[in-house]
């Protein structure tokens, strides 16, 4: 990627700005509460309804805005508004992803509607979640208190009991944890309006379908070459997401793929300890720590580009340097399509190799253009630090977009230490930390996972 690509990436997208201004109107209403909107806020929702008037949602949204403005707020109306908001953000996502693909010269497959998603699971439970989300919307974030947050606890617990509803469970748990920590929300000087409205809307849409995107897998055989590992977590969940290039057996075009491991955890399990939660996937973790390829036989691949990982269908392959993969295979790899309901700017996370830059304050200077580097989300479970990023000569990262700007989240860097090239990857410690200082600190803090598992064994099965 050169400075000219970066300039192309960052050229203004006025349609995206316009769509997000409309979304702001909804997000403000959700902060205030739909019970007493007032004329000005209702007016902003009317403009939002106008934006989707020509779509299949048009009538439902126009009706919902009229009813909500008149003081009648129901689940149906809120669902229609959430759908309109999701449609606008979906359009913004499409524009951003198209821009990103064009700047990188990347080919992306288009979504083929086919797979049916199966019958909805636990409709009564999902109705309960919807009722809670409705109460939150009627009240508004500013009215959320301990009591309203506590009312969500039995719902979250029940959701974890239904494996098919894991997405809703993880989402609602993350949102309510933030609300619990922020209660009473009325005392917060500022509200994370976009974020909470995103989470609320996605939760509401998930209660309609239960889940989506988990059907239609096809088995693939070939070689997986790892580019890097992205880590996401909140207090009670952690996801290790491996980005890589799949070389299908038989010589088909290499494809950009991901694979995901999602574990439940508690807030006191942090840093390198999170890898212990995935200890029963030694083949994948071994490849991350050891830097080798993975040979796959009949591994399910979902239409959205996610491999459904079965450790027993993979075996360790030859040593493979992610920087070589990024240089040789990434430019020609075909990117996966995005499930229509997953289209949101937060999902634009595209692997890219950056070379020929100068690392400076706040970012990488490429031919005079500065790319912001997101050093605040470097995973604490790996050795990649802000210092390593500042000394980087090459970087594999994910191009992301949030709050109106592009940034790079590093997954791996290569630099020179004592005149020798040294590469650091977020997944280097997948089998445990290798830095003696970190090992010592971990030993001092004690093994949180073992302590808690021991307690769980004693108390949960009495």
């Amino acid at each position: 990627m050169r400075g000219s690509n970066l300039a192309e990436l960052r050229a203004p997208l006025s349609d995206v700005d316009g769509a997000l201004d409309l979304v702001d109107g909804f997000d403000d209403a959700l902060g205030h509460g739909f019970a007493r909107l007032g004329e000005e806020r209702a007016g902003r929702l009317t403009v939002l309804a106008g934006a989707v008037a020509g779509s299949p949602l048009g009538d439902a949204v126009a009706d919902a805005v009229a009813k909500v403005a008149a003081g009648s707020v129901s689940e149906e109306h809120l669902s229609a508004l959430a759908a309109a908001r999701a449609a606008l953000l979906g359009a913004a996502h499409d524009a951003l992803l198209a821009r990103c693909d064009a700047a990188l010269g990347r080919t992306r497959e288009s979504w083929q509607p086919s797979a049916s998603e199966g019958p909805p699971v636990a409709p009564n439970l999902l109705a309960g979640v919807r009722a809670w989300l409705t109460e939150v919307a009627v009240t508004g974030w500013r009215g959320v208190d301990h009591e309203l947050v506590s009312a969500s606890a039995p719902l979250v617990e029940a959701l974890y009991g239904e494996p098919a509803l894991r997405r809703v469970a993880v989402l609602l748990d993350g949102l309510t944890d933030e609300l619990r920590a922020s209660s009473p929300v009325a005392t917060m000087p500022r509200l994370p309006e976009r974020r909470w409205a995103d989470l609320w809307s996605r939760a509401l849409l998930l209660t309609r379908a239960g889940a989506w995107g988990a059907a239609g897998a096809t088995d693939v055989t070939g070689r997986l070459l790892v580019l890097g590992v992205d880590v996401h977590e909140h207090a009670t969940a952690v996801r290790v997401q491996v980005h890589g290039v799949l070389e299908p057996a038989g010589g088909d075009t290499p494809r950009l793929v991901r694979t995901n491991l999602v574990a439940a955890k508690v807030d006191t399990i942090v840093g390198p300890a999170v890898w212990q939660l995935f200890g029963d996937r030694p083949v994948l973790l071994g490849a991350l720590a050891g830097g080798h390829a993975l040979d796959l036989v009949d591994m399910p691949l979902l239409p959205g580009g996610d491999l459904v990982w079965h450790d027993e269908r993979a075996s360790a392959g030859a040593p493979a340097d992610p920087f070589a993969t990024a240089r040789v295979l990434l430019p020609g790899a075909v990117a996966p399509p995005v499930h229509p309901l997953d289209r949101h700017p937060v999902g634009v996370a595209t692997p890219v190799l950056i070379e020929g830059f100068t690392a400076g304050e706040g970012g990488f200077d490429i031919d005079g253009e500065t790319l912001t580097v997101d050093v605040e989300s470097l995973p604490d479970c790996g050795p990649l630090t802000a210092e390593a990023v500042a000394a980087a000569e090459a970087c594999i990262g994910l191009l992301r977009w949030d709050a109106g700007r592009w940034s790079l989240r590093p997954l791996a860097v290569r630099g020179t230490v004592k005149r020798k090239p040294v590469a650091t990857h977020t997944g280097d410690w997948a089998l445990g930390p290798t830095d003696p200082k970190v090992v010592k600190a971990a030993a001092k803090a004690g093994d949180a996972v073992s302590v808690l598992r021991e307690r769980a064994g004693r108390l949960l099965r009495k």
């Binding site: 894991r166 993880v170 976009r194 969940a237 508690v266 709050a403």
Partner: protein
């Protein structure tokens, strides 16, 4: 400036950021003595191991605002060390809460208007009376907390985690 205020120095795009940070990550601490600490339901509450009996735990809590304190076993027997002043279990609870969440966050949750660093400094600011708290409620939250460790790993995509980037603890 402590970690907490550095963390909360939101930039101007914070309100419009899908991945805005709301809750600072907790700091690692030893869990053997106080396996569970949380700021929830308007209380600092948690579970403290008994020093003498491995099968016994104490359920301790301090109310936000009122600072009313309580401590009993999980079977609702009052803590023998609790008088008109907080017991050693409550001291441990506050010490570990400060380690885990930082002084500023715990003080703000309890509505203590003071600066400091240690659990002892925070304890010195509490002016509450002995109070009764349903130990069963807090203990069931602890059991619920432990139950997360028994949820199997999922290999299906959870795109909702895109909203929760990691990092920030170091």
């Amino acid at each position: 400036m402590d970690d907490e205020s550095a963390f909360e120095k939101h930039d101007s795009g914070w309100e419009r950021a899908s991945t805005a940070r709301v809750v600072p990550p907790v700091r690692p601490r030893k869990l053997a003595k106080v396996p569970f600490v949380e700021l929830a339901d308007g209380r600092l509450q948690g579970v403290v191991s008994s020093g003498s009996d491995i099968a016994r735990v104490y359920v301790s809590s301090i109310g936000a605002g009122t600072h009313g304190f309580s401590c009993s076993t999980n079977n609702n027997r009052p803590c023998g060390g609790l008088g008109s002043r907080p017991c050693k279990h409550l001291q441990s609870l506050v010490d570990e809460a400060v380690l885990q969440h930082g002084f500023a966050r715990v003080a703000r949750y309890l509505q203590v208007d003071a600066a400091g660093e240690s659990g002892a400094e925070l304890m010195a600011q509490l002016r509450g009376q002995r109070d009764s708290t349903p130990a069963a409620t807090v203990f069931s939250r602890f059991l619920r907390h432990l139950a997360y460790l028994e949820v199997p790993v999922s290999v299906a995509p959870v795109p909702e985690l895109d909203w929760f980037p990691t990092g920030g603890a170091r």
